[in-house]
């Protein structure tokens, strides 16, 4: 089944730097997540740089400023990382086992990019927390997190739902719902000490 093709001499040619191309691709995908519509961009040209950036940003923002240098937020950083990546991998395996026709990395890519709204929510929450604490503060944060959570779900279902057979859609979407719910919970219950 392996097909042998002669490659032309193009390997040595020069062209625009791959870094800018990659950055543009990442930026374009961010736009697609913010304005979700049925399109194939996230699926066709998947890459995992965006999810990595988002994951690191979210993990950094979820740090408690602690005085004790022994517990300098180390476990929480790694925890967030592990939760996000392990959760995404589990959802992907689940959707593949349900008979989805999406590839492993495509699914990881979509799930990772759709964390963008929640990262924005985290940013807003941190800003809101600079003001004085109180029930109003909490209500604002709750509202923001709920809106962004809904946005993430809508964005990811727009990309992922088509890959599942129709009678399994709910089964495939439910873990995604849980995944983003856990992340939203982490964001909402965050309080800097």
């Amino acid at each position: 089944m392996a097909k042998a093709v002669e490659s032309s001499g193009e390997l040595g040619t020069t062209s625009p730097r791959p870094l800018m191309r990659d950055l543009k691709a990442v930026g374009k995908k961010f736009m697609h997540v913010l304005y979700p519509r049925k399109s194939n961009t996230l699926l066709r040209d998947w890459d995992l740089w965006g999810p990595l950036i988002l994951c690191v940003t979210l993990a950094l923002m979820l740090q408690r400023s602690s005085v004790d240098s022994e517990q300098d937020g180390g476990p929480q950083f790694a925890e967030v990382f592990v939760i996000i990546w392990f959760g995404a991998v589990t959802i992907t395996v689940n959707s593949k086992l349900l008979g989805g026709n999406i590839s492993f990395f495509q699914s990881l890519c979509v799930l990772g990019y759709c964390i963008l709204p929640l990262t924005v929510a985290m940013l807003v929450c941190r800003l809101v927390l600079l003001a004085e604490q109180g029930p109003i503060n909490f209500m604002v944060r709750l509202f923001v997190v709920i809106v962004m959570f809904a946005w993430s779900i809508v964005a990811s279902t727009a990309f992922l739902a088509d890959s599942q057979p129709p009678n399994r859609k709910a089964l495939a979407i439910y873990p995604v719902f849980l995944f983003y719910f856990v992340i939203s919970w982490m964001i909402l219950t965050f309080t800097p000490q």
């Binding site: 093709v5 002669e6 001499g9 020069t14 998947w46 990595l52 593949k96």
Partner: protein, 241 residues
């Protein structure tokens, strides 16, 4: 004498087989692309150094972890997008496309880049990427460059050694770190170490697949290498006895 030397080389590391067995051109030992060679080693080695010395440099676990992650990602991107030169002459064929779905169990959770165009490469005779076609099926493509008659693209043995040395030594080191982190219960470093193993291992795997593209598969090559070693062992014993 020259033949003797090249035979000795093939005994040591089978990965240099392709260079020795195909061409009669004189091997250049100067480094053609010092910048690329430097960066290939720089990111990998500095990631390892930061991991080992993090406790000395700063008390912040997060700063170390983020730095290591950044270095590993830069290294992965730089090496995979083939900033490194190796010129291979694989006479038979130079591109292998695997059937769709064949690599779905290959599970490194790492940032791969879908490569659409080869840009400014300092000539990797090897490259590999993932390609999604119109049906939504994903193909993994491993490619190695065919010999060209140009004088400028002769084999550079020094760079080849640098490339493969860096490519092989680092995943091995990260695996050692993984075990040490596991057994000394420094679990918080485990995430970083696993990421290191995954990223560097993935690059290594991809390039080895490119390199052995002209053979049937990796197991055949390993078997033939082991067979060769055993044979040499026997003849060596016969000669000494």
């Amino acid at each position: 004498m020259l033949q003797q030397d090249s035979n000795d080389d093939t005994e040591d590391v089978s990965l240099f087989d392709a260079e020795e067995e195909t061409t009669n051109r004189p091997k250049k030992s100067k480094i053609r692309h010092p910048v690329a060679s430097f960066f290939h080693l720089f990111f990998r080695v500095s990631a390892i150094v930061v991991y080992l010395l993090c406790e000395l440099f700063s008390s912040s676990f997060i700063a170390c972890m983020v730095t290591i992650i950044l270095l590993l990602s830069c290294d992965f991107w730089a090496v995979k997008d083939s900033v490194l030169p190796i010129f291979l002459e694989c006479g038979s064929h130079s591109q292998i496309t695997l059937p769709p779905g064949s690599l779905t169990f290959f599970v490194p959770w790492t940032p791969f880049t879908v490569e659409v165009n080869v840009t400014g490469r300092l000539m990797v005779g090897l490259r590999w990427w993932n390609h999604i076609d119109e049906d939504g099926k994903s193909h993994w493509v491993f490619e190695s460059r065919k010999a060209s008659a140009q004088e400028s693209k002769t084999v550079s043995e020094a760079e080849s050694r640098i490339f493969w040395l860096g490519l092989i030594a680092c995943p091995v080191l990260w695996v050692i770190f993984a075990f040490s982190a596991l057994f000394s219960f420094r679990v918080k470093w485990l995430a970083v170490v696993i990421m290191g193993v995954a990223l560097q291992g993935a690059n290594l795997y991809g390039y080895i697949r490119c390199k052995v593209g002209s053979r049937k598969n990796l197991t055949n090559m390993a078997t033939s290498y082991l067979g060769k070693q055993l044979l040499r062992q026997d003849t060596g014993d016969d000669q000494t006895s």
